[in-house]
Amino acid sequence: MKEKVLLVDDEKEFIETLAERMQNRGMEVSATTSAVEALKMAEEESYDAVILDLKMPEMDGIEVLAALKEKNPELQVILLTGHATVQKGIEAMKLGAMDFLEKPFDIKVLSEKIKKAHTQKMIIAEKHTQEKIKQIIQEKGW
């Protein structure tokens, strides 16, 4: 099953090229340079991971992260930062980011993190299914 990823960064050339490289690695990628558009896309589609730049016009990456998590607390978000510091990492994690990466990065590292997000999403989905089955069994009294 293909990993479904949303890329959000105001550098058009960056996301276009990264999207192509990720597609070459078998992922299904959507990309946008607009934070507002990203929120709309995340509402309409289900993604395994959102790769989000921390510094963007319109809305700061942290604001976008908070808005994404408010709508879907289980969404896996990987933050991209210019300078990754421990402090920034802690801040991102506290706000619900799954992980963070410093630009420029190795695509192998990003791919690993996306795979982890995909697995995480599948575990959550399985847990939800099990809870649903349990609920049905209880209701039907089987």
Binding site: T17, H83, I107
Partner: protein, 228 residues
């Protein structure tokens, strides 16, 4: 005055940090693009090994894009270098057009972050005044970034310059003065201290919705800046 200089030196260090941090982010963005473009070339080479033919036009396009990004990164470093050297310059005859051009470049990322367009219409010929370049950059940048929060619906700031034999005026407009709060109005303490050190004035015109920085052509000897 000594206390004022200490505060200005401290604020100046903060300004230097803010600008260099912003520049390093911009540089990182450029490096990230180069990294992905080079990575894509590597992907194509690996695909060619598996029998997928290379597209020479695509290769040429990618190489051109990498060269463009190297030019962008070089321009960023050149700007950083100019800015860094200005901090070691004493009170001297300074081209205010060059200073303003540098400040607009340094502030362009802040403007982008706030979706504000900077529209400079400034002289091409040098306009020389006697001043301290770094403090002048700090004052202009401080006022320009503050004005970014006071734009109207159009989110655009025009930047102009006028000069006489006595002074040089930098105008930033239109600004919506009603948007200023007690906290972020200009001249604040930082602006006033910088203006005092440079013998400059910061004026707001409520009729023309203009923020103006007035620099004297010269500063009385021995009255500006530590070490001057």
């Amino acid at each position: 005055m000594e206390n004022g200089f200490n505060t200005i030196a401290e604020k100046g260090l903060g300004f230097f940090g803010k600008i260099t941090a912003s520049i390093s982010h911009e540089l990182k963005n450029s490096l990230a693009i180069i990294n992905e473009k080079a990575g894509l070339l590597e992907d194509f080479a690996l695909m060619a090994d598996k029998g997928i033919p290379l597209d020479p036009e695509r290769m040429e396009l990618l190489a051109g894009q990498i060269i463009k990004q190297i030019g962008r990164a070089n321009d960023i470093i050149r700007t950083l270098n100019l800015f860094a050297h200005s901090a070691e310059e004493p009170l001297k005859n300074t081209d205010l057009v060059q200073v303003l051009t540098l400040v607009i470049r340094l502030c362009s990322r802040f403007a982008d972050m706030k979706s504000v367009t900077l529209a400079p219409d400034i002289p091409t010929d040098p306009v020389t005044i006697q001043t301290h370049p770094f403090f002048a950059e700090h004052l202009i940048c401080h006022c320009l970034t503050a004005a970014m929060d006071w734009t109207g619906m159009e989110k655009k700031l025009n930047i102009g310059m006028e000069h006489t034999d006595v002074d040089v005026r930098i105008h930033i407009f239109p600004i919506d003065i009603a948007k200023q709060s007690d906290k972020d109005s200009v001249p604040d303490q930082e602006t006033q201290m910088l203006a005092d050190v440079l013998h400059a004035r910061v004026e707001q015109n409520t009729v023309s919705n203009m923020l103006s920085l007035v620099f004297p052509r010269s500063i009385p000897s021995g009255e500006c800046c530590p070490g001057a």
